[in-house]
């Protein structure tokens, strides 16, 4: 809440600075706006920016470094009360103090010396915040003073303001890159901590996955098993089932819409298929768990098969249906990009429509279709809610679609939901899985997008 007040005050000062700058510029030329290099508003914006940017930079910098500073400062106090802690233990202690400081309920039941530490922590924090606010306002005042001195009829205010706007736009456009970097580094960093406990070889090639065993360090069998092969296999099984549904149905829908359907039919059916794409995945998950899984089990039992109630088949089918519109709309674009002249060539030979499609259009569109399917696979691998709700938790290494299997995303969710210590191998394993997931989907996406782009360029 204090942050909001701070921002509101800074914005108010900025607005005042704008008016002041505008008036002052007009005053300098005696109200004759024509004598100014730029429109008066640009002088106002010039002054306003000189207020806003220093203050906000100060605030953002503080926001970024506050955790580090706080940590450094509280470590001293922790060592006073509990001397001789190792590096890891200090880290844990700092985290604990931090979580106590934001959780009043936990704070109430903490020990007295911890309460003292939390008090010290909050004290440092508020001193830091006050110092930051004072500094920010000082900078704003300095900026205002400087900008006021700079105002003169020959000041190229428009250029200066435009330059600032350009910089802001460049910063905005790099946020996407920063996000990627953030993903890579956070996953790598946490995964490295995991690999300090479990070797990457064991993780990638081990056949036993049972991280839930290690609930407490004093528990029997606390080591847990982190061989992820069964998890990968389960992901592949469900992905394969979903593709077996989505690819033929999506592709045939796309072919029918692109080549056969009338304009009117298309205008009706395309939005309906898009509805399938717009339904939140949690809804599919609910449907898979509530309707599809019992249905698959009953059908299986009726023909004498032993079907698990969380069978890979049920989750796979529903996921496949979710991906149909994805495949169909991508393939539709790709098929429409095939030049009409190729179709004409085949028709002129006396080919029927389906012969033209099967033997000319599809082969011509093949690279694009493969690209779409790869994007669909990447989506199926990363899909979370359907499998969390309808697939199993136990990691079975099986290719039987009627058995329950687990997937990478299910494991990430189950490992991270709930209040565990953040530093246990169990939670860190989620980041290792996330890293694998990210790398695999990234490779698929890069290849697929390149293939599709090349394909488009070919027919442009």
């Amino acid at each position: 809440m204090n942050n909001l007040i701070f921002i509101a005050v800074v914005l108010a000062i900025t607005a005042l600075a704008y008016h002041y700058g505008r008036r002052h510029a007009l005053g300098v030329v005696g109200g004759k706006a024509r004598d100014l290099h730029s429109l008066p508003g640009y002088y106002g914006a010039y002054v306003a920016l000189w207020c806003l940017i220093p203050a906000m930079t100060c605030a953002v910098l503080w926001f970024l470094i506050e955790p580090l500073v706080l940590k450094q400062m509280i470590v001293g106090s922790i060592l006073e009360t509990r001397p001789g802690l190792s590096g890891d233990e200090i880290g844990l202690a700092v985290n604990e103090i931090h979580s106590l400081s934001i959780n009043a309920y936990a704070f109430a039941s903490a020990t007295a010396d911890k309460k003292a530490l939390v008090g010290r922590y909050l004290e440092i924090k508020s001193i830091g915040s006050i110092a930051m606010v004072v500094l920010a306002f000082a900078l704003a005042a300095a900026g205002l003073y400087y900008a006021r001195k700079m105002i003169a009829p020959r000041l190229r205010a428009r250029q200066a303001v435009e330059k600032a706007i350009m910089c802001a736009m460049i910063v905005c456009s790099t946020i996407a890159v920063l996000t990627t970097i953030g993903i890579v580094f956070s996953l790598l960093f946490e995964a490295m901590r995991f690999f300090a406990h479990v070797s990457p070889i064991d993780f990638l090639f081990g056949l036993q996955w049972s991280p839930q065993i290690a609930m407490r360090s004093d528990q029997v069998g606390s080591s847990g098993a982190f061989g992820a092969v069964p998890v990968f296999a389960g992901t592949l099984l469900i992905t394969a089932i979903s593709m077996a549904i989505a690819v033929p149905i999506g592709l045939f829908s796309a072919i029918y819409m692109a080549e056969y359907s009338s304009h009117k039919f298309r205008a009706w059916v395309k939005p309906i298929l898009e509805v399938l794409a717009g339904i939140p995945t949690v809804v599919y998950g609910f449907f898979a768990a509530l309707t599809m899984a019992p249905f698959v089990r009953d059908v299986g039992q009726a023909v004498g098969l032993d079907v698990a109630s969380e069978s890979a088949l049920a989750a796979g089918i529903v996921m496949g249906i979710m991906i149909i519109p994805f495949v169909s709309s991508l393939s539709d674009d790709v098929i429409n990009a095939v030049p009409q002249s190729l179709r004409d060539g085949a028709y002129a030979m006396g080919a029927t429509k389906s012969e033209t499609i099967r033997q000319v259009v599809i082969p011509a569109a093949f690279p694009g279709i493969v690209g779409s399917i790869m994007l669909a696979v990447s989506r199926a691998i990363g899909e979370t809610m359907i499998v969390v709700m309808a697939a199993g938790l136990a990691a079975n290494l099986t290719a039987n679609p009627f058995a329950a299997v687990t997937t990478v995303t299910v494991q990430i969710v189950t490992l991270l939901i709930g209040d565990q210590e953040f530093d246990s191998p169990k939670t860190l394993a989620a980041f290792a899985l996330g890293l694998v997931l990210f790398v695999v989907t990234l490779i698929l996406n890069i290849i697929a997008l390149t293939v599709v782009r090349r394909y488009r360029e070919q027919y442009e």
Binding site: D344, Q359, P363
Partner: protein, 269 residues
């Protein structure tokens, strides 16, 4: 082109027989409400090259596409009147455009080889029409078609390479080979040389003259020189009407209609 002379001796008769292959009666074409072609009456003799000339948008390509019912593939396009082929109306109720197009082949303005190998491009028609009983027969057909199109020598060592890798002129000859592999009776050519350089054009024109022995050829062209060089008969279209038709030398030397004369001397177009 010695190989062609040997190869094309099937329905061979180097001189026109005078038999009417196709006759158009009151043919008109509508795109929605727009009338693109009006009341065309015209006869086509066997083993002749007939050129259709006229300024852009005059309806000559539209008329050409009526002859193998390619206009059927354009939504909203409607054809009226009748075109008789060997006495049967190709717009009759029991005529299947697929059958018709096997008998009336077409070559397009821009070379449009399928993104497949040279061999598969030529073999496509024979395959869908079930012409060859086995691989050996198919090989024979492909070789014959490529020889007939004058492409065999250039292509025989690269039959499995994609047809799109050929030069423009070669691609167009490949499309001609693809069309004749089905052994149609009529070949329609829609400005087949407009995307080609002069040397490639000369080759195709030479080829057209040879093909005339076995096929009836109707060619739409922008180039009056080309019409004069390759065709025995010429028809001039203007603004959706067939203005005048007759032996090529008559059209080019003593046209009846002033519009024809104006177009030929370059005053309209």
């Amino acid at each position: 082109m010695a190989e062609i002379n040997v190869a094309l001796s099937a329905r061979d008769s180097s001189a026109p027989t005078g038999k009417i292959k196709l006759s158009a009666r009151n043919v008109g074409v509508f795109y929605g409400a727009a009338n693109a072609l009006r009341d065309v009456n015209m006869d086509f003799e066997e083993h002749q090259v007939i050129s259709l000339i006229g300024p852009s948008g005059c309806g000559k390509s539209t008329f050409l596409r009526c002859i193998n019912r390619m206009n059927d593939t354009i939504p909203g396009c409607r054809v009226v009147g009748s075109i008789n082929m060997d006495g049967t109306n190709i717009y009759g109720p029991d005529i299947d455009p697929v059958e018709l197009r096997a008998r009336v082949g077409m070559v397009f303005q821009k070379p449009n080889p399928f993104p497949k190998s040279i061999y598969d491009n030529v073999a496509y028609g024979p395959r869908i029409h079930g012409m060859a009983a086995g691989k050996a027969e198919l090989d024979e057909v492909v070789e014959w078609a490529l020889r007939s199109a004058g492409l065999w020598e250039e292509a025989k060592d690269r039959l499995q390479q994609p047809g799109t890798g050929l030069s423009g002129g070669q691609q167009q000859r490949l499309c001609i080979a693809r069309a004749i592999a089905v052994h149609p009776e009529v070949i329609l050519m829609d400005e087949p040389c407009s995307a080609l350089d002069p040397i490639a054009t000369a080759k195709i024109e030479e080829l057209i003259d040879e093909l005339r022995r076995s096929f009836t050829i109707i060619i739409v062209t922008h180039s009056m020189q080309q019409a004069a060089r390759v065709s025995q008969k010429t028809a001039f279209f203007h603004m959706g009407n067939l203005v005048e038709e007759g032996p090529t030398d008559v059209i080019f030397t003593k046209p009846h209609d002033p519009r024809t004369g104006a177009y030929i001397t370059g005053r309209i177009g």
